[in-house]
Amino acid sequence: MNIAVIYGGDSCERDVSVITAVQTMKLLNKFAYRVYPVLLGEHGGMFMPAHADDIRTYIGEKADVGEAVFFKGKTLCKSGRFMRRLAEIDCALLCTHGGAGENGALQGFLELCGIPYTSPGVEASAICMNKLTSKSVFAALGVNVLPAVKVRKGERERAFEYARGQGYPLMVKPARQGSSIGIDMAADEEQLRKALDVAFEFDGTALVERALTDFTEINCACVKYGQEVLVSSPERPVCWREFLTFEDKYLRGGKMSAPGREFPANLPAPQREYIQKSALKVYSELEMKGVVRFDFLLDNASGEVYLNEANTIPGSLGNYLWTDKGIDGCRLADMMIEQALAESAAQKPAYRSDILEVFGSGSANACKIGRGHL
């Protein structure tokens, strides 16, 4: 079976994506799959590096390495003076983070090409990419979210107005960025101004929301396999990519600087249940597939749980969240590929109309004469 591992892209998380892809390529079964690495170029285009599963390939001045390739329907071709067909791709394993790779654009492209892929569909990807849209969708599904206000680049006044009503501290995030890039906390008006400047560097739209002062981040992932959806145990990550700044970590001392993570997270039963239930709800209501990691915030003071965001293509494909269920990275990749193939194989209803024949037979207005009114 031919698997295209697609990674890279133009987003800020390009390097994380490369790491995910390298890890995943090493995990794939070499006997069962033929792996075709497809690196999305920084300025468009696709490339196929020679030693794709070696991280050293990507270290250097040039970002786009390898030969230029492209998709011709399901066929992966090498471009150049002569086109050469490389392989008919059976499934695309997506390791792209952020940007066009995660917002549904790549998914849409693959759908047009007719290639099954291992991430949620166009619709769900697009919803989860934008933090504002996703918030309203999650809220509509009855899941707790922190209220936020949308601020466009020219409308900074709205943020200050919101701040006067809400009070500080506030969290400022660009609407369409992942991995906590451009996220900043603001404790007063001066800091809010600065935080907005930073956020607008990354996106034209930002959101301002109430910041929790004492909270725990909890991750929980879902994956669809066959007809059922598996929900992982919640995990409490303790790592550098927290949207805490360096000072924050320093001030909190040893508690946050402890390396590693807590898995499964030691949570009270109601919170644990709530997290798993809401993750499952969002996952199944938005008809997702593949691994999706949901990031929750647990307010330590009140015990409330808020859904912060959904990652449709999580780092390392979230394979560290399943070990307690006996699922390792290899099995997870197999499951995702199997699921993608099964869903694309499900028959689409064939619909044929005779409008063209009627139109071709010389009728003035086929739509009026054809069966029923269209």
């Binding site: 090493k26 070499k30 799959y33 006996g326």
Partner: protein, 247 residues
């Protein structure tokens, strides 16, 4: 027999160590694989924490392993065997609880005759006939043993299991060192040729190649286990494709 039991997954892996090793020989693999698998690693008679009680044949070792499987109540298991463990694994292959075999530089094949070996045997016979001291004859493995284990060793190395190969129904994965001198790659080729459902991977390195490529070997075992336990459509079964080779 002493048996290391680590990890609490539903699926079980059984690690059989080589001659002169112990359950600790597989520690690097066990420590990684125990996150999703239950790992059992017995010490053979006369190795590690298990004492030698009497002279054993390969079959006795296999019986000991069977007892462990009974004791632990294991229903389905994949055996990961290195060197001498490979002999035991081949003996165990008839057991229906064993769903797959991973043989790393396994022994048990009849070695090719060589001029060197012929002269070594000739020297030993001559010395014996002339009633000279024969204590410095024999392999280093042999010389390091107690008298009881020496007899076991002789029994073991004279057991050739080439005939078993055709009868193995389970999928088998061979991981072999390209520069292995104790169990040279021709043994892997022989196994690959005769076992019905067999894949071979050659790694750089010698008889202990799995210690040089711990991460890769773990991935191969995981992929193999996925194919065996979950029956992937395109799992490791079938004989298509040549050897996978890692330079």
């Amino acid at each position: 027999m002493f048996c290391l039991d680590k990890g609490n997954g539903e699926k079980t892996l059984l690690f059989l160590h080589g001659w002169g090793g112990s359950s600790a020989s597989f520690a690097p693999l066990v420590n990684i694989l125990c996150d999703t698998y239950r790992c059992l690693a017995p010490d053979f008679y006369g190795h590690g924490q298990t004492p030698a009680e009497h002279v054993c044949s390969v079959h006795d070792f296999a019986l000991g392993v069977r007892n462990i499987l009974n004791e632990k109540g294991v229903k389905e298991v994949i055996v990961v065997a290195h060197s001498f463990g490979g002999r035991v694994a081949l003996d165990l292959a008839g057991d229906e609880r064993i769903k797959g075999l991973v043989i790393i530089d396994g022994a048990g094949m009849r070695p090719r005759a060589s001029v060197k070996k012929f002269f070594r045997a000739l020297k030993y016979r001559l010395k014996k006939a002339l009633r000279l001291d024969v204590s410095n004859c024999g392999s280093p493995d042999y010389k390091a043993l107690s008298p009881l284990m020496k007899q076991t060793f002789v029994k073991v190395v004279n057991t050739h299991q080439d005939g078993v190969l055709r009868g193995i129904k389970q999928p088998v994965l061979l991981l072999w060192g390209k520069k292995d001198r104790d169990t040279p790659p021709y043994m892997a080729h022989r196994m690959h040729k005769r076992i019905k459902d067999c894949k071979a991977v050659f790694l750089s390195g010698g008889h202990f190649c799995y210690l040089d490529h711990v991460a890769e070997v773990c991935v191969f075992i995981r992929n193999f286990a996925c194919g065996v336990f979950y029956g992937m459509v395109c799992g490791i079964g079938g004989r298509s494709g040549a050897h996978g080779v890692i330079a």
